[in-house]
């Protein structure tokens, strides 16, 4: 049912029509992570997770955080979302300190789609809007729009148990985007699907970002994905993690057939301590 949407496909055109004139405006705010340290207590032992992490995500840009597993990338997301309070240091959103607890500027997608199995797909996307006070009719209309955009128009009344992994992830992302977030946080959202689906989802995701242009913090372990999606790549070290390097990505470097891409890939992998030449002895 879902076809591959390339950059100028019909879905994008239709979405652009829906999006109304101001589609080019910057919607997101600036996220600043300022000398953040974080540790937690488990089983009586203190574990250091983040060790002086600092970087800045300009408004409406996409930052991809890459690093070894368990290095605290997800913790970073939790801090940015206000689900955790940093042990030391602070995070700032739009100039003000990040508040604890649920906030209205935020949208998040997780590794597991986390759809409520007792609700239909449409209800799953609409529930966030209902919680924020929209009427049922408005919420459902908005949900329908976003489901159309991700190509799941035919599955609005289906239950999550009927969806494949990729489809469920699309619903999860639609749900996050339907909130019109100014800050979008994603925790390896494409990690649990197969490689083909992942490539398709990456393309669709970039298209979706053009509609509302939130600020995005995208955690991934997949370096090609980070180059494809990100405006900057934040490379983290092992736990206790700190920022190793911030690598900007420009348009020309996203073409996987180009030498510029290969150089960017090599640069990033080298940062992570991986040689990009697999043809050695």
């Amino acid at each position: 049912m879902t076809a591959i949407r390339d950059a100028d496909g019909p879905a994008t055109r239709a979405a652009a029509e829906h999006a109304a004139p101001a589609a080019i405006r910057a919607h997101g705010g600036e996220l600043v992570i300022d000398h953040v340290f974080h540790d937690y207590l488990a089983g009586g032992r203190r574990t250091d997770v983040l060790n002086d992490v600092s970087f800045r995500i300009p408004a409406s840009s996409v930052a991809c955080v890459v690093g070894p597993s368990g290095c605290g990338k997800s913790t970073l997301l939790g801090l940015a979302a206000g689900l955790l309070r940093p042990s030391k240091g602070a995070l700032y959103w739009d100039g003000a300190p990040v508040k604890m607890g649920p906030t209205s500027h935020l949208g998040m997608a997780f590794q597991q789609p986390g759809l409520f199995p007792w609700m239909t797909v449409r209800q799953n996307v609409a529930i966030g809007l209902r919680t924020r006070g929209h009427s049922r009719r408005d919420a459902q209309a908005t949900a329908d729009r976003f489901l159309d955009t991700v190509g799941l128009a035919d599955f609005k009344d289906a239950y999550p148990s009927h969806l494949s992994g990729g489809m469920a992830q699309r619903v999860g992302i639609a749900r996050a985007l339907a909130l019109k977030p100014r800050l979008l946080l994603l925790d390896e959202p494409f990690a649990a699907v197969d490689a083909f689906t992942r490539l398709k989802l990456q393309q669709e995701f970039k298209t979706l970002l053009r509609l509302d242009r939130p600020t995005v913090l995208f955690v991934t372990h997949d370096v090609p994905e980070a180059i494809a999606i990100g405006d900057i790549i934040v490379v983290m070290t092992q736990r206790p993690a700190t920022v190793q390097r911030i690598i900007p990505v420009s348009r020309g470097e996203r073409d996987r057939a180009s030498p510029a891409y290969a150089r960017k890939l090599a640069e990033t992998l080298e940062c992570l301590g991986v040689t990009s030449d697999m043809g050695g002895e």
Binding site: Y40, L41, A42, G43, G44
Partner: protein
């Protein structure tokens, strides 16, 4: 729901909760003592504690031994029958297909329903009570026994074949230990079922044991003694459960048992 929170906190809060419950009990007993309300005669915890000490110095040991004897005999009988039946029904396909459905149909009917029949058959004596406990234990353990007799780990079976074991050797080295391991686990689950059956049997028969004592003090309107006896019963159950867990962990350290399984 964040993990962590030290064990000390759990102990402190748990203690506080227990204390709060005792205080509530005491307050309730005073409130009700002045008459009014359906429940009169709720003794405060101290009175119950005094009664408990008195009972402990008196007939408790004798009654307890009676009840434990009933329980032990019934449990042994029930577990043994369940193991044998489990082996037969689990390993011999014809028997299993034929009779397991009947067992499955009867299982939900607690052995408590059999009390009147047991009285008709065996009267009020020891035999009747042992029969009921054995039945209760049997109904619980049989499922585990059948499971255990069927579930031989595939790699062990292959090893046995490779080593050229004959039927009897396989049985002794593979099937029997596997079945017994499951029976042990099922036995812990059946502990509370069996112990509960003891008390019902003794309530009805009312000749010896904790249950009989319970009826006796009930009929003499001795509420503190009733509550004290109930506590004895619960305490014994708890100790048996704890003891059994220790035994299980010692005999089968690689198993992770399901604490708090439902009856």
């Amino acid at each position: 729901m964040s993990p962590g929170g030290s064990r000390v906190t759990a102990w402190i809060l748990g203690g506080a909760g227990a204390l709060a419950a005792l205080v509530a009990w005491t307050l309730l007993s005073y409130a009700l003592a002045s008459g009014g309300g359906v429940i009169n005669r709720l003794p405060d915890p101290l009175t119950v504690a005094r009664e408990l000490v008195r009972y402990a110095g008196g007939d408790l040991v004798r009654d307890l031994l009676f009840s434990l004897r009933v329980f032990a005999l019934g449990w042994l009988l029930g577990a043994t029958c369940a193991t044998l039946a489990g082996l037969a029904l689990g390993r011999v396909a014809v028997l299993g297909s034929t009779f397991l459905p009947i067992v499955e149909a009867i299982r939900p009917v607690s052995s408590i329903a059999w009390v009147p029949l047991s009285i008709v058959w065996f009267g009020f004596g020891l035999t009747s009570k042992v029969f009921l406990v054995a039945l209760a234990v049997f109904l619980v353990v049989i499922v585990y026994a059948v499971d255990g007799s069927r579930r031989v780990p595939a790699d062990l079976a292959r090893t046995a074949t490779m080593l050229g074991m004959n039927g009897w050797q396989r049985f002794r080295s593979l099937i029997l230990p596997g079945t017994l391991a499951e029976v042990l686990i099922g036995s812990r689950v059946s502990l509370m079922a069996g112990w509960g059956t003891v008390i019902v049997a003794e309530l009805v028969a009312a000749d010896f044991g904790l249950g009989a004592h319970l009826i006796a003090v009930e009929q003499s309107y001795n509420v503190p003694a009733v509550i004290a006896t109930m506590i004895c019963f619960g305490l014994t159950g708890y100790l048996m459960n704890a003891g059994f867990s220790v035994l299980e962990r010692a005999l089968m350290p690689w198993r992770r048992d399901d604490v708090g399984a439902l009856r």
